[in-house]
């Protein structure tokens, strides 16, 4: 994994609906390495890469999403305070945090009153989200409006950095890690003709992947994601869902999708055979673009590869480098074996018939 690319991607803004800055970075990084590159009508970035062995006779799609959680400014009050709507977060994950508003990256704070002034009915509870606002220091509506913040986005003001023991900490690891891996695969090259989609709007309910699936109609899809790791102090057993340092997470099911069982077994077996650290998720939780891929256009066979990530959908997501490397390695190995995956998938249908 080229961690400089991941750093660049994580630090870029790309709130759902405002993915253009990160999409532009990705397009610049991959345009020399692909044979087709287009934005579709929804803003998804779709690339095509010819394989060294040509086509394997089936359509292959590798997918990730570009968007991240964040905020959208929906009103400026007369005192210059920015009212907002959050995208994809719980209140407690963002109160009191620093943010950067819009393309001008105007610093702001998600303001909440000091603990000393809380009424007895407010103590011990999350703040009422309807009372929260972003303070950028503006003194009037007019001053804030001139800065172009209305209908604009805000992202967490937190920089990518190395953390603890061979971990990284950043905003938007979900799913810039997936983007970085697909960029790596495009640069390395593929054995068989493949499409790559960098989707918009996943955090709004798997919106971008729907038209991608309608357009490409892949026979097999590999979806790259980050997934919630709850391996924190005090959590035991299956409630951890997955564990940092135990390798790439390959889910068999989540709230959005049932992953093709025979392909799931093959992927787990391949990881074991190649000694790539691999685990599954021990809870049926979360949802990804796989939910769209397994339903749209008749439903496509989908595999999920995920990097276990702590504090997902926050300013400070934490992931283990060895898990990212394992995920990337497994992606490369699967990419080289897409003919095998396609024939397993074909047998599923034959058997079903």
């Amino acid at each position: 994994m080229d961690y400089r690319v991941l750093q660049k991607l994580c630090n870029a803004p790309g709130v759902s609906g405002y993915e253009a800055p990160v999409a532009g970075i990705i397009a610049d990084l991959i345009s020399d390495y692909c044979d087709g590159l287009e934005y579709d009508r929804a803003g998804n970035l779709i690339a095509f890469k010819r394989g060294s062995h040509g086509s394997c006779g089936k359509r292959i799609l590798c997918s990730c999403h570009m968007d991240e959680v964040g905020f959208v400014i929906n009103h400026i009050d007369e005192c210059g305070r920015l009212l907002f709507e959050e995208i994809g977060m719980m209140t407690r994950a963002y109160v009191g945090k620093r943010v950067l508003v819009g393309e001008k990256r105007i610093p702001g704070i998600i303001a909440v009153k000091p603990v000393h002034l809380l009424g007895s009915d407010e103590r011990g509870k999350d703040p009422d989200e309807e009372k929260l606002f972003i303070d950028i220091g503006a003194k009037s509506r007019n001053e804030a409006e001139k800065l172009g913040v209305f209908a604009n986005y805000a992202v967490f003001d937190s920089e990518y950095e190395n953390f603890g023991d061979k971990k990284i900490k950043a905003k938007a690891l979900d799913d810039r890690v997936g983007c970085a891996m697909l960029i790596s695969l495009l640069k390395r090259g593929v054995k068989y003709d493949s499409y790559f989609s960098f989707c918009v709007g996943e955090e709004l309910g798997l919106r971008g992947s729907t038209p991608v699936c309608e357009r490409i109609k892949p026979d097999i899809c590999i979806n790259l994601e980050c997934t919630t790791a709850s391996d924190i102090y005090g959590v035991k057993g299956a409630k951890k869902v997955c564990t940092l340092g135990d390798g790439v997470a390959v889910p068999f099911m989540d709230n959005s999708a049932v992953y093709a069982p025979s392909l799931y077994r093959y992927v787990r077996g391949l990881a074991d055979e190649l000694s790539i650290p691999c685990q599954t998720k021990t809870a049926v939780a979360g949802g990804t673009d796989a939910g769209a891929y397994t339903k749209i256009a008749g439903g496509r066979a989908t595999i999920g590869l995920a990097v276990p990530t702590r504090y997902i959908h926050s300013a400070y997501c934490v992931a283990q480098k060895s898990d990212i490397d394992a995920c990337e390695e497994l992606l490369f190995e699967l990419s080289d074996r897409m003919d095998v995956l396609c024939s397993i998938n074909e047998r599923r249908y034959t058997h079903d018939r």
């Binding site: 609906g17 934005y39 959208v72 929906n74 009212l83 209305f150 499409y195 971008g208 357009r215 490409i216």
Partner: protein
């Protein structure tokens, strides 16, 4: 067209369109009537088709081969009720269709669309018989507030069947300051604005007529949005989705509403096209048409949410008319905002071939293999 000329047309078009019931689920039954109504109001549209899901399409062809397609959608369905049981004594039980506020139904008049239209009144205990009239917890479900038709059992059974729909009674009126009041403003007033814009374009000798315009009066927005999702198959180059939004009022927060009389509004959202929304806003402002903007970040609550990513995706802008008392028996709008909406639609049509070409310009970096897609 001046506002006073437009105002007369607005009242006429609205009266014609809102007199057609079309509670969600019944659109198909009303399609023929809607077709004749629109055809009687304007000859701008030369093609009509009824969609399997109950929606209706009116198409204007500019005559240019492979012309760009502008879709204007205004859902035609309205909230109401469906009869679920015929009760003894001339009463019926109904379920809501779409979001209806049950607090407002006691002693309200509705009409039931049976073999013939039958008036009904939701029952209400007089205050001196109510134990807990101010206890909101005691508020019954709509299914538990029977509707009195006043009919005998036999007459009821001869006229009304389970599955018939019912709606608020149509009694429009004009109030002070150009305010128009009536049922189903959501969304017949937007359909009114769309028809008005068609009349304006057909009377405009300077209109270049360089794009096909499809007016969709879609179905099922109030229940599940399937009518909007279906429109994705039209592969329009862009779509303006018309719907009502909240007029500012006491207890309505400023960030979700806008004022009567200050123009129609464009909703910016993470789920619609900001570039096309900008085209709509700029087109209006260039022509001094009053227009407001607001943000509905995650969900516009309109067909645009379903259309924007359906099929191959359609760049959408949401254009709305502020309205008070939404989903109630008597909704109000300011006709100046309806006029602004119709003028904005004309501006979109004027600018469309250029604005949509601008949107497409940056999409292709390296062409994807054509045979593969």
């Amino acid at each position: 067209m001046t506002f006073s000329q437009a105002k007369k047309l607005i009242k006429k078009i609205y009266a014609e369109l809102a007199s057609i019931p079309a509670v969600s689920g019944d659109e198909e039954l009303c399609a023929e009537k809607v077709k004749h109504t629109v055809e009687s109001l304007t000859d701008f549209f030369t093609e009509f088709s009824a969609l399997p899901a109950g929606g209706m399409l009116f198409t204007h062809r500019c005559g240019i081969e492979n012309a760009k397609k502008l879709l204007i959608d205004a859902h035609f369905d309205t909230v109401g009720f469906a009869v679920t049981e015929l009760l003894d004594g001339g009463f019926v039980r109904v379920s809501p269709v779409g979001g209806v506020d049950r607090r407002l139904l006691f002693a309200s008049e509705i009409e039931i669309y049976g073999k013939k239209t039958v008036k009904g009144v939701f029952v209400s205990n007089p205050p001196h018989l109510s134990k807990n009239s101010n206890d909101s917890d005691a508020l019954p479900q709509i299914e538990d507030i029977p509707v009195d038709t006043g009919l005998s059992d036999k007459a009821l059974r001869d006229t009304v069947s389970v599955g018939d729909t019912a709606g608020f009674v149509f009694s429009p009126c004009e109030m002070l300051n150009d305010i128009l009041c009536g049922r189903s403003m959501d969304n017949r007033i937007c359909a009114t604005a769309a028809v008005l814009s068609a009349i304006m374009l057909s009377q405009d000798e300077e209109y270049r007529d360089e794009c096909d315009i499809i007016l969709s009066l879609s179905s099922a927005e109030e229940v599940n949005g399937t009518g909007g999702a279906y429109l994705g198959k039209l592969c329009a180059d862009a779509a303006v989705v018309l719907d009502v939004n909240f007029g500012r009022d006491k207890d309505i927060p400023e960030n979700v509403s806008y004022n009567f009389g200050e123009g129609c509004g464009v909703s910016y959202s993470c789920t619609t096209s900001r570039a096309f929304s900008d085209c709509v806003v700029n087109g209006a402002r260039m022509r001094d048409i009053p227009i407001c903007t607001l943000v509905e970040a995650k969900h516009t609550g309109t067909n645009a949410h379903h259309l924007a990513n359906a099929h191959l995706a359609t760049p959408c802008a949401v254009l709305s008319i502020p309205e008070k008392y939404m989903h109630q028996a008597h909704e109000t709008v300011d006709m100046k905002d309806v006029y602004s909406c119709a003028r904005t639609l004309c501006a979109v049509a004027y600018d469309f071939p250029d604005s949509v070409s601008e949107l497409e310009k940056c999409r292709v970096i390296k062409k994807l293999p054509a045979r593969e897609v």
